[in-house]
Symmetry: C2
Subunit: 334 residues, 2 copies
């Protein structure tokens, strides 16, 4: 493989000049630029990215940490990130954190050892202080779906509380007054905020929040099932269930159906996230859209702007959720 040296020789210029046309930055006389480019083409020259990185202290790589890779949610987020980065000639190095503190730390450590130029993190378990320190240590950090006050400018998040509000509001507006809630793990910010929105929606209608009608799940199938079973077993009356995410909603739907309840005739259900399979469920699941692809793209854009100095890009830190009304909600039986 040809090196910059051979190019400079063939073009009859110095190393430095070749480097300049390579980084099409500095002023280079047009004729010499052409000479150099011809030489490059003739030699089928490709810059060696490792040498570039070593000399420039830039790897053009961005470290990504997500909780999981399977499942519909993070794939969509990565899609948004990858497209934006690659379009700019950068690339993503992806690691998985499993919502576990040790593994998240390990993943971040790994990425830093790879000399990434920046980090895009969707973390659950590490502390705010740690993130703060990380950022102070010189690695630019963008956080998705997490707000750390001291790092507000580099947080890309959904207005989860508003989402929770919209979800509960959707069933209240249909006339429901006895509304159960299956939350995500409340130590996770987003789960707690969604619950807050739920409570606020109830309050706005002058309804009391009843913790007996609330169960804490795990954002996954098993937790959704268990929570629904408990609610049914409690003997309490409710005509609608608001769920912290779609997976739990799907699970709840299944359990309710098996218990002989007709959905939505006897029980309305709404989820959160609008992941792909909502449309396939029977009945189709109402939900709150989480524009995770756009948010991933925005995180990438943040990096392009703040790390690679593309100042044309505008950053939006907070995204607004939106209701998708589908068949799983109807007015309560009279």
């Amino acid at each position: 493989m040809a090196t910059i040296y051979e190019v400079s020789e063939l073009a009859g210029v110095s190393l430095a000049t070749v480097s300049r046309v390579l980084n099409n930055s500095d002023r280079v006389k047009e004729t010499t630029r052409v000479k150099v480019q011809d030489a490059m083409a003739a030699l089928d020259y490709r810059p060696n990215s490792m040498a570039q990185s070593l000399a420039s202290k830039r790897t053009n790589s961005i470290g990504i940490l997500v909780p999981e890779l399977h499942g519909p949610f993070f794939g969509t987020m990565l899609s948004g990130i990858e497209a934006e980065l690659r379009n700019a000639g950068k690339h993503a190095i992806i690691t998985v954190g499993h919502s576990d503190r040790e593994k998240e730390l390990d993943g971040i450590e790994f990425l830093i050892s790879r000399n990434v130029d920046a980090l895009i993190l969707h973390v659950d378990a590490v502390s705010d202080e740690y993130l703060h320190k990380l950022s102070d240590n010189g690695t630019p950090v963008v956080l998705i779906n997490r707000r750390v006050a001291a790092l507000a400018d580099s947080c890309i998040s959904l207005n989860n509380q508003q989402g929770g509000y919209l979800a509960t509001r959707a069933v209240l507006d249909q006339g429901h007054r006895q509304v159960a809630y299956i939350s995500g793990p409340l130590w996770k910010n987003d789960a707690a905020e969604r619950l807050l929105g739920h409570q606020q929606a109830l309050a706005d209608k002058g309804l009391a929040f009843d913790s007996a009608l609330t169960r804490e799940g795990d954002f996954q199938e098993t937790g959704g099932k268990e929570a629904m079973r408990q609610l049914l077993a409690s003997g309490l009356a409710f005509t609608a269930v608001v769920c912290g995410n779609d997976e739990m909603a799907a699970a709840a739907m299944e359990v309710a159906g098996k218990s002989g309840l007709l959905i939505p005739e006897q029980l309305s259900i709404i989820g959160f996230d609008n992941i792909n399979f909502c449309r396939y469920l029977h009945p189709k699941l109402s939900t709150i859209e989480y524009p995770i692809d756009a948010m991933g793209q925005m995180a990438a854009r943040w990096v392009l702007r703040h790390v690679y100095k593309n100042n044309k890009l505008l950053i939006q830190n907070i995204f607004e959720p939106r209701l998708y009304h589908r068949a799983s909600i109807t007015p309560p039986a009279a």
Copy 2:
């Protein structure tokens, strides 16, 4: 950040010796090894991966190309790859090809420009010749879900034909004799092979293959819907539909349901892949399992063995599919 030079100074040894303990390869006296390690710890030394790469011609990174990042299938595959690679201290650089020839070439080009040590490709559109040439040019290549005869040793694939056979066999065994088939795009190998399996299963039961009962879809929702509509509109009689993948099966189920057909009582359906949402469908979708996580892991293992010389690892090139019998299949009405 401390360099290898400072470590050597503090430990009172040469650069070369530090490098040796770093790559804990060569024989180094135990006492000096300890001295060096102490110095490293004292300085909080981290090797610079770029410098290592430049000098060793190894980036410890593996390029991955997948058709899509959203959706349940490739996320699972990447999960298998990432876990195996990171466990070995390597990392994945992921790009997307969109099953489009130009984009696939572009992605591969991008990865090569990043000096990846190897490529793991799930490609649809590029030619066998191209892949062959790519491999000849010195970049080790592993292919997932594609068999190129000349590269047989580096292909990790599912026995798609057997899968197609099992799927059709499953409905035939229930007594169905009029079986429709919705295939994936037949220019894709896997789609064609699955169809072959279908035909073979029919032949084994002494049934004639009827191309009028076969429609070519696109492995996606829209294609599945359209194909099902056409089948219903054709007026031909059939009591079961075998689909090339789960997404089309879900779509077909929906269309059939809307047309007033009861599933499975009036129409049995089976899919392929066993992606996550099969369990959530109503009725639960029977399908053929595609062990894509294990296959991703195996591809990573191939790289560890052939590129990084970990000869302890064993390679399995062909994976066998397996039937998941769920509620969407019953014997035909009498």
